[in-house]
């Protein structure tokens, strides 16, 4: 069948199972848009190309499949950079398609010509320029294969305008991916494996560090069995949240900089760390010299480059998490770690009293209350997409996720402006799920233009702005480490409710705790998007906190204010 390049692209995407493309048109990609119009693909018109990449990312994270974003050459492509980097840092499979000037003028500084493959080389898993229509089908298939295999990541495909317009033979069967041959690495030797088994079966104070890789691998069931058999307490990274049910007694909660005190203390006291699909980010370990000193370490990880990168381990089991766990299972003895688990529970005792959650209503509205109420009202079943900042940490602490891929957040890059567009992508991936956005007043203002996309696409998500009048997370650092010199963190915002109304979106503003639950309820009853502006305590801080570079044992705890002392256990 003879088709033009643009039609080949649309046909290939359709055959790869793509339904939605998040994009923005322009001259160098126009032939593709023309072909899109004749295809069955649904194009979601965004308001800024950064939004397109976050939507594709949100789509990928919610579904486990590949999200597709599209933009024109030049400024369209460069606007994608932040979104691509966000996907790269969190290993999210996104395919970005950009138009490029015609191959005849490549390299001549033509109108809207930019070397986007050069720019994105360090922030993509792979990228490629296509200059011939006959290469499109195979290259797109390769891009999809690369994006979502092994350790996933973004792939950018830059297609020159003449390649989009040229006529070529389209033959799907003949355009099988042809990637360079790779050496088959013998993943791990038997001795290493046996050593890991020995450590697992002899540990007295083991703890699992569960990461995002468990979800990527689809290893939830194997992981659950592994935990149950070995009776290992589980701590989660921010991106690991959801890989193991929050309501399982062995789930301790999040580790790291804003992890719960008992979790970090348990890690510091453990004699064995079992890291599964996590990369020992510095927000997780704190000062490496004092990190888990008495523990031996096992690392189950698909990417060889992560082994011994930050933390030196005693056994590295390189491979897909599910594969490795399934191979370990028959060798694991049923263990009883009840004394250790009891000890960890005792560590927890003290922290719970300090918990803001147990505060009686003193007229103040705390972000923690809002998030906890959203959790209760949605029975922990919503997909929550957060932005970056204090509200993000409170979400991680107070919304208890029982299912994988229900917390979508930018962890590695910490990209403000991620939440709103990523939630739109997540809603397309899971149209039947309830999707909540938890976003700060700062980050919301970075990508709020996508409210128009919501209206144009008639989608239904719920937006909770945690409005503290500050770039709160930065303000908190200024409070703790810069003597409360609040430089450039007090933040003027528009009246978000009025703004939403101007877009044609229903909105509420909440200032009192008593109004929180009724408002959440009425928002949930609506079949349309509702925005809620929660005016929360302005100078509240996220506790506990391990200062950047400090030891995990050295946590800044919630001050024991009189209010907190009168609190009762939840």
């Amino acid at each position: 069948m003879k088709l033009i390049g643009a039609e080949i692209l649309c046909e290939s995407l359709t055959r790869l199972g793509v339904r939605e493309i998040f994009g923005y048109p322009g001259g160098a990609i126009l032939p593709v848009y023309d072909a899109l119009g004749k295809s069955k693909l649904h194009h979601v018109l965004v308001r800024h190309e950064q939004g397109a990449t976050h939507m594709a990312d949100g789509y990928a994270r919610a579904s486990g499949g590949i999200g597709v974003a599209m933009a024109t050459s030049g400024p369209g492509a460069t606007n994608m950079v932040t979104g691509i980097a966000t996907a790269m840092m969190d290993s999210s499979p996104v395919v970005c398609i950009t138009g490029q000037v015609s191959s005849k003028v490549l390299g001549s500084d033509a109108f809207q010509e930019i070397d986007i493959t050069g720019i994105t080389m360090p922030i993509t898993k792979h990228n490629v320029v296509i200059t011939k229509a006959e290469d499109i089908a195979r290259t797109i298939r390769e891009a999809f294969l690369i994006a979502n295999s092994g350790r996933p990541g973004p792939v950018l495909v830059d297609i020159t305008k003449d390649a989009q317009q040229a006529i070529a033979e389209f033959n799907w069967e003949a355009s099988e991916p042809k990637l360079p041959p790779k050496r088959l690495r013998n993943n791990h030797d038997q001795a290493e494996f046996d050593r890991a088994v020995e450590m697992l079966n002899t540990a007295k104070r083991p703890i699992i560090l569960a990461g995002h890789g468990i979800m990527v691998s689809g290893a939830m069931r194997a992981f659950e069995q592994f935990v149950r058999t070995g009776n290992y307490p589980v701590a989660m990274t921010l991106l690991g949240i959801g890989c193991f049910p929050a309501d399982n007694a062995l789930n301790l909660g999040m580790m790291g900089m804003h992890g719960e005190a008992w979790v970090n203390n348990a890690i510091q006291e453990a004699d064995l760390l079992i890291a599964v699909g996590m990369r020992f980010d510095d927000r997780v370990t704190g000062d490496l010299r004092t990190y888990a000193k008495s523990a031996r370490k096992i690392h189950i990880e698909i990417d060889r480059a992560e082994i011994n990168k930050n933390v030196k381990v005693d056994a590295a089991l390189v491979g897909d998490a599910r594969d490795v766990l399934e191979r370990l299972m028959p060798r694991i003895q049923t263990c009883d770690h009840s004394a250790w688990i009891r000890h960890v529970a005792e560590l927890k005792g003290d922290s719970a009293v300090r918990d803001i959650q147990s505060l009686p209503d003193n007229g103040h509205l705390y972000a923690a209350h809002v998030i906890n109420d959203i959790w209760k009202e949605t029975r922990g079943e919503a997909i929550v997409v957060t932005d970056v900042g204090q509200h993000q940490m409170w979400e991680a602490q107070y919304y208890h996720h029982n299912r994988p891929r229900t917390l979508i957040t930018s962890g590695g890059l910490g990209t403000m402006g991620f939440a709103l567009p990523a939630a739109i992508g997540a809603k397309f991936a899971k149209p039947d799920s309830e999707v909540w956005v938890v976003v700060g007043d700062g980050g919301f203002q970075m990508t709020m233009c996508e409210l128009a996309t919501i209206v144009q696409e008639k989608i239904n998500i719920k937006i909770a702005i945690i409005n503290n009048g500050f770039l709160g997370m930065v303000r908190q650092w200024q409070e703790f480490f810069y003597d409360k010199r609040y430089v450039a963190t007090p933040l003027v915002a528009p009246d978000f409710a009025a703004l939403a109304n101007a877009f044609g979106i229903r909105a509420e503003r909440i200032t009192k705790r008593a109004e929180v639950i009724p408002t959440i309820r009425s928002a949930r009853e609506s079949a349309e998007t509702v925005l809620i502006d929660f005016r929360v305590e302005q100078e509240d801080s996220v506790y506990p906190m391990v200062a950047a570079g400090a030891s995990l044992s050295d946590m800044i705890r919630r001050p024991n204010s009189p209010l907190v002392e009168t609190a009762t256990e939840p």
């Binding site: 590949i66 295999s149 991916p177």
Partner: protein
């Protein structure tokens, strides 16, 4: 100093990917040589990097993650043959010429160009040998020098060959399709 060998696709842009990766990992490259292999679709690189064993492991593993890299291996601890080639233009007049020729002989270098006021000396061998020659030439006045950078090969039966077979690779077998 660590020595890595990589087999890569012999096509434009690959050198850029490799050097860009080293830069991203904050690993300083001392020398990087590329040349075709007997299979013209595949090029071989020798990378000498200023890093420790851990850095070399990270570089090796990260290189192998690049789609265009077929194989990367840290060969620093193996028995190696290493060669570097240099062209050195040194000033030479009637008086010191005999002395120069003497030195060149000792280092088993060759004179490949003669001009009234200078000579070009070609020398190949291990890096130390070239550095040694350079040291003794300096007093004469080194006018120009070009060095190829190091190429390395493991000795004897210790073979390092590019993987063959058109496969989509070990970890790339999972489906790239979106249909779930």
């Amino acid at each position: 100093m660590q020595t890595l060998v990589a087999y890569v696709e012999n096509k434009p842009g690959v050198l850029n990917r490799v050097s860009s990766l080293a830069r991203r990992l904050a690993i300083n490259i001392d020398s990087l040589t590329v040349g075709p292999t007997e299979n013209e679709a595949i090029a071989r690189m020798t990378i000498v990097a200023h890093t420790d064993e851990r850095g070399a492991h990270r570089l090796e593993a990260s290189l192998e993650k690049l789609v265009d890299v077929l194989l990367a291996e840290n060969i620093s601890t193996r028995a190696l043959l290493e060669r570097d080639l240099a062209l050195i233009k040194v000033s030479a007049d009637q008086q010191n010429r005999p002395h120069l020729m003497e030195l060149i002989k000792v280092f088993r270098a060759r004179v490949v160009d003669v001009a009234p006021e200078s000579l070009i000396i070609e020398v190949s061998g291990a890096v130390d040998k070239i550095d040694g020659l350079l040291e003794v030439l300096r007093p004469f006045g080194v006018l120009e020098m070009a060095r190829t950078g190091r190429i390395s090969m493991t000795r004897g039966g210790d073979l390092l060959q590019p993987p063959v077979e058109e496969s989509s690779g070990s970890e790339l077998e999972s489906t790239g399709s979106n249909v779930k």
